[in-house]
């Protein structure tokens, strides 16, 4: 540590350039990770907010909520405990209000007596009580919608009234409008013999009575959201490649720095200073550089997150970013292990000309 700190102190320019390189790399990785996570959450936050284990969908739906319909007969055959099961009806809608922007949204109809209705977490207002009342995602508020506003769906003539706002209610990157299931058939334009899109249950092994229906886990439902898996794979690969490339870049820099120090290390070896001491100093120096680079990068990313407009989805997940940082620290220690090999093979004779 002694040599590491003294050297950084003496070679300020060189080491601040290296730290700023690490700052930029970690900043890029942090921002990209947060954007990827933000986008992922725009796909799933509504589903994640529903506290359920399994979802019962029509088998013909290809595990897509918006393709699934349950008939009255199918629902009658389902065992429904209002504390554990809840019917939901999904409809894709366009929300309009005079003088305001149209919003493409997902309507989710729920039943008042079932758990999902009771567990909706409002950020303001109150739950809908009639079939022409709704609570909407808080992004509606960003577009100027207020509690008490009249809102029209699709080309229907009867207005709905906004009674409250829900936070983080997004499904497939569209805001969610929660209403009562009784409003659903009209919005979905289905014949009255269909009564819901799906049933969610808190029961892990809910038995499905009909071979026309299938039971799927929450994760299966999320993985089958249109575009979701492809998007995640793309981001994961981007971040993984970025990490690998940064590993190589950082490792090369640390390698060059150490190579430049070898003649000097040879002198210290002549004086009887052990390999262990020199290696410890080299690794410590890498750690100092990387950790301070990461800290500044994280700070910059935090400032960016505060400054960035709400419409850009960005989500800071501290455990995930911690993991990313740990990855960078490990990669840089690995990077500094390459020159360690060289230190072990330093020939003290080189010091004596």
């Amino acid at each position: 540590m002694y040599l590491a700190l003294k050297e950084i102190k003496h070679e300020k320019l060189r080491y601040s350039l290296i730290i700023s390189m690490i700052v930029l790399i970690s900043y890029l990785i942090f921002i990209l990770t947060s954007l990827a996570l933000g986008l992922a959450q725009q796909n799933t936050s509504a589903i994640e907010s529903w506290n359920f284990k399994q979802i019962i969908l029509n088998k013909d739906s290809d595990i897509a909520l918006r393709q699934s319909l349950l008939s009255e007969k199918q629902v009658e055959a389902l065992k429904i405990d209002n504390n554990k099961e809840a019917l939901i009806g999904q409809a894709s809608i366009v929300a309009k209000s005079s003088g305001k922007e149209n919003i493409s949204a997902n309507f989710i109809g729920v039943k008042k007596e079932q758990f999902l209705y009771r567990e909706l977490k409002l950020s303001s207002g109150k739950l809908p009580t009639t079939s022409h009342e709704v609570v909407v995602d808080s992004s509606f508020a960003d577009k100027g919608y207020k509690i008490g506003d009249k809102i029209y769906f699709n080309s229907l003539k009867t207005p709905y009234k906004i009674t409250g706002f829900v936070k983080n209610a997004k499904l497939s990157v569209a805001p969610v409008v929660y209403g009562l299931l009784s409003a659903w058939p009209e919005l979905k334009s289905v014949t009255p013999n269909f009564v819901a899109s799906a049933l969610i249950t808190k029961n892990n092994n809910y038995s499905v009575p009909s071979s026309e229906l299938g039971s799927y886990s929450k994760q299966t439902l999320i993985d089958n959201l249109p575009g979701y898996s492809a998007q995640n794979k793309t981001f994961t690969f981007m971040i993984a490649f970025l990490m690998v490339i940064s590993l190589i870049v950082i490792a090369v820099f640390l390698y060059i720095i150490t190579i430049q120090k070898l003649p000097n290390f040879a002198v210290l070896r002549v004086q009887g200073i052990s390999n262990k001491f020199l290696i410890k100093n080299t690794i410590n120096q890498s750690l100092i550089l990387v950790i301070s680079g990461l800290a500044i990068g994280a700070l910059l990313a935090m400032i960016t997150a505060i400054a960035i407009p709400n419409s850009v989805p960005m989500s800071f997940n501290i455990p995930l970013l911690g993991l990313v940082s740990l990855g960078l620290i490990i990669t840089s220690v690995l990077g500094s292990l390459i020159p360690v090999q060289t230190i072990l093979h330093i020939d003290p004779v080189k010091a004596i000309s």
């Binding site: 003294k6 002549v270 009887g272 200073i273 003290p348 004596i352 000309s353």
Partner: protein, 224 residues
């Protein structure tokens, strides 16, 4: 008693037609309290001799004893600790860590050898003797060749080694300073009972030496 002894030491470099015989059947010994000078022209094998004495290179054949122990049997770790505690090197060049001030060069020695180093008072005395007390806050790049050589001498003596090995310790010094360094090495041998071995082509050190060897074409001969 001889603190360091060479018995029929030979050193070859390279193989095949490129093989050179640098040291030839060297017999040598130095006692505690002796200042030994080895004179020789450039390329005669002085540095090679010192590297073998300093336990950095092994001889091709022959034996080297330090304090009566054959060091060819030592492990890397034992060699390291021997260099750290019993040997002090004054190298021909690049002796100092470039990013440490003069004062910090001694601090570094304290980090790796926790005890048995000079006391602050003794260090101050040594620095004054070498006329480098004013330089302690400077970095090596700010020192002249002669100044850094004197710092290197102080650095080598700081760990209070039993054997001091110096490679051209006076190369960059003027006559007045050569005399000072010669006196310091001589005084060191006498007052602290150390074995001081210096290799050089500088005849100006001859006056202070107790024993003078000549190294010529790999052969060592005693002159006085």
């Amino acid at each position: 008693m001889a603190v360091i002894e060479f018995k029929k030491v030979n050193k070859h470099f390279g193989t095949g037609s490129a093989r050179v015989h640098v040291l030839k059947d060297i017999d040598f010994s130095a006692n505690a309290g002796e200042f030994v000078l080895i004179l020789g022209p450039s390329g005669s094998g002085k540095s090679t001799f010192l590297t073998i004495a300093g336990n950095i290179l092994s001889p091709t054949n022959g034996q080297v004893f330090i304090n009566g122990k054959d060091i060819s049997t030592y492990s890397t770790k034992e060699r390291e600790s021997l260099r750290l505690t019993d040997l002090g090197f004054v190298l021909q060049s690049h002796n100092l860590v470039p990013y440490l001030t003069v004062k910090e060069q001694f601090e570094l020695a304290d980090k790796v050898k926790k005890s048995g180093n000079l006391t602050p008072d003794n260090l101050t005395g040594l620095l004054e003797q070498l006329e480098i007390s004013e330089l302690i806050k400077k970095y090596p790049e700010q020192l002249s060749g002669g100044q850094s050589q004197r710092v290197a001498i102080a650095r080598a003596l700081y760990t209070d080694p039993q054997i001091v090995l110096a490679d051209e310790p006076t190369a960059a010094l003027d006559s007045k300073r050569v005399k000072v360094v010669g006196e310091i090495l001589h005084h060191l041998a006498k007052s602290q009972n150390k074995a001081v071995i210096a290799v050089t082509h500088d005849l100006r050190l001859v006056e202070q030496a107790d024993k003078i060897y000549e190294l010529n074409d790999g052969k060592l001969t005693l002159k006085n």
